[in-house]
Amino acid sequence: MLRSPRTLLSVTSAALLVAGLAACGGTTKDSNTNSGSGTQASAAADPNAAVKEGLKIAFLPKQLNNPYSDVETGGGKVAVDELKGEYKLVGPNDASASSQVSYINTLIQQQQDVIVVAANDPNAVCPSLNQARAAKIKVITFDSDASKDCRDAFINQATTEGIGQSLAKMALEQAGSDGGEIAVLSATPNATNQNSWIEVMKTELKKPEYAKLKLVKVAYGNDDDQKSFQEAQGLLQSYPNLKVIVAPTTVGIAAGARYISSSSYKGKVAVTGLGLPNQMREYVKDGTVTKFALWNPADIGYLAAFAGAAMASGQITGAEGEKFKAGKLGEYTIGKDGEIVLGPPTEFTKDNIDQFNF
């Protein structure tokens, strides 16, 4: 022990020296031209090709025990059955990219025809997804996109603009004509969707009609129920004048609503955002929540399965402007960067919530 600090010092300095030497003329962020993009779809699309039967379509949601993704993949299963394909659902217990990679690898080994994946990290899954594509597997992302050079198409639940605007609109409605302080309770700070929605929402709030709304804080509940619950608590302690909590994530809105409904803030602070009708029914009925929105998640899985099948059958390649039929949802057109937009979100209120069961 007596001598170790000195030895340590020498080791450290040696390492730093090496590092320093290497620093001259190494690869840096600026010099790095990342050419690691995957194989681009090269085959030409044949719009008249028949959709194959018996396609192996695997769903890989962010994690298994998430009711929202259960609804999504449930829609996928309906679609795969309609397509007479083989449906498979795998996924990790934790929403981490590394465990998702292991599952992608397994799916490659099993030679699936289509992988429908909700990426936990847009980049971390990329190498594996590209390996899958190299193995002639079509990769469709849903819910949360992967980097666009490692997937064939992305099913977008709604346009980013549409959701951001809708969030801002609902916040204003809830705050009332006097406006006031609002806060956002999001998922994780690097959640792709939530961040782009919040960005749009912020842009929207700069418009004169929103002048009375003041966004005081964006908190992150990490899509963890307990964490979101505590973040909601923290928001109210820090911002006693808060009027509205906007939670653009199903976990966050449920936790936030639950906290408000059980606290003295009930009736004073409104909660809105994106939520599942089944989770929110109680709070809508007890008056904590008057309005929230969401697209139908089952339709996302449904659409993803059809898109994957169409691609695996050669009907489409993922290029902009291609069209395909998606069963009961009708015809869709592929947009820029392989995006397929589901449609506008549904707004839920006391009056219509009982019509939905997901």
């Binding site: 025990n65 998430n66 009711p67 259960d70 217990n93 973040e231 302690q237 449920a254 606290s263 089944n278």
Partner: protein, 334 residues
């Protein structure tokens, strides 16, 4: 008279351990309250106590196990399996009274704890290994059973959910239960034979066997207690958070162990107290909410908890060294 000369300082040093946590707590609360007086509002205090309750219940069981020179890493998974069991049971039979839910949770936890205890005592497998194994196993069982399903607040009976917020004489039930658990636990460990035997077992396992202490019974008891309290915490968790899935309580074991260590229970057994552990739980919880209130980047929270654990064991070490020195000085003839 030498008899008295040592007496006082040694006892005071021991006392400072819990006092230290209380002081740290007071400082933290004072600082936060000055920054934001709402931190001391009734709602805020209530929230903090409610959040502490679950952790304190688990820390009580953990403290008892750690005092016997063992550890129970499976508590997070036990909480999960108990929360899911009870939530499923209550959603299927909404008519069941709350007390049945509590007993069911205790029972599930006790069985899980019994398995741990039997493996440790009769399988002669170190507790760290056993409970690391059952951490995986219990969680795996919950996952396999629950699959992707989740019990939502709206599936649970109203009286179950309101239990977390209902009061008795202004004290929320959750807090009351935690107080009873911590109080009973402290009393048992301090003033009853079985408690002192648990300390003895942790202080010197071999000597405990020779002293004729019913080591097997006590050890099983400690693990059953820890399991049962984790099970109870599962019920409280389900009632408080309303939404239960298979991941409930994931990673909680680290918080519980942290609370116990911060609360002054030595990881090698034999010393520390249940109420110290409960104070540790309170301190950790208050830090969490204080950071949110002080608007400190929430990412600091975990780092601060880590630093606090290290600080706590350093402090313990310091106290031990000082006691040893004062004892040696007294004994020295030089």
């Amino acid at each position: 008279m030498t008899t008295l000369s040592l007496h006082a300082p040694a006892k005071n040093l021991l006392k400072t351990r819990e006092l230290g946590i209380v002081l740290a707590l007071a400082l933290l609360i004072a600082y936060t309250a000055i920054d934001n007086p709402r931190f001391l509002s009734g709602q805020s205090i209530r929230d903090n106590l409610l959040n502490t309750a679950i952790l304190a219940v688990m820390a009580t069981g953990q403290a008892v196990v750690v005092i016997t020179r063992n550890i129970d890493l499976s508590v997070g998974s036990v909480l999960g399996i108990s929360a899911f069991t009870v939530a499923t049971m209550m959603s299927a039979n909404p008519g069941l009274p709350m007390i049945v839910a509590l007993l069911a949770g205790l029972a599930v936890g006790a069985v899980a704890g019994l398995v741990n205890g039997v493996l440790v005592r009769f399988g002669k497998v170190p507790a760290l290994v056993v409970t690391l194994g059952t951490l995986y196993i219990y969680r795996g069982i919950t996952y396999s059973w629950a699959g992707g399903s989740q019990v939502n607040a709206d599936e649970l009976p109203r009286h179950f959910l309101t239990f977390a917020n209902d009061n008795l004489l202004g004290i929320p039930w959750l807090v009351l239960i935690a107080l009873i658990v911590v109080g009973t636990g402290s009393l048992m460990m301090r003033n009853y034979r079985v408690g002192r035997e648990l300390y003895a077992m942790g202080s010197s396992p071999a000597a405990a066997e020779l002293a004729g202490i019913k080591v097997a019974r006590n050890l099983l008891g400690a693990f059953v207690l820890s399991g049962a309290l984790a099970g109870l915490a599962g019920v409280l968790y389900a009632a408080r958070f309303g939404t239960v899935d298979a991941a409930a309580g994931n990673g909680m074991e680290l918080n519980v162990v942290a609370a116990v260590v911060v609360g002054g229970v030595a990881v090698f057994g034999g010393s520390g107290s249940v109420w110290g552990a409960a104070l540790g739980a309170l301190l950790l919880t208050v830090i969490g909410s204080a950071l949110a209130v002080l608007d400190i980047n929430q990412f600091w929270q975990q780092a601060i908890v880590g630093a606090l654990i290290i600080l706590a064991i350093c402090a313990d070490r310091l106290v031990a060294v000082r006691i040893a020195r004062s004892l040696r000085k007294r004994d020295a003839h030089v």
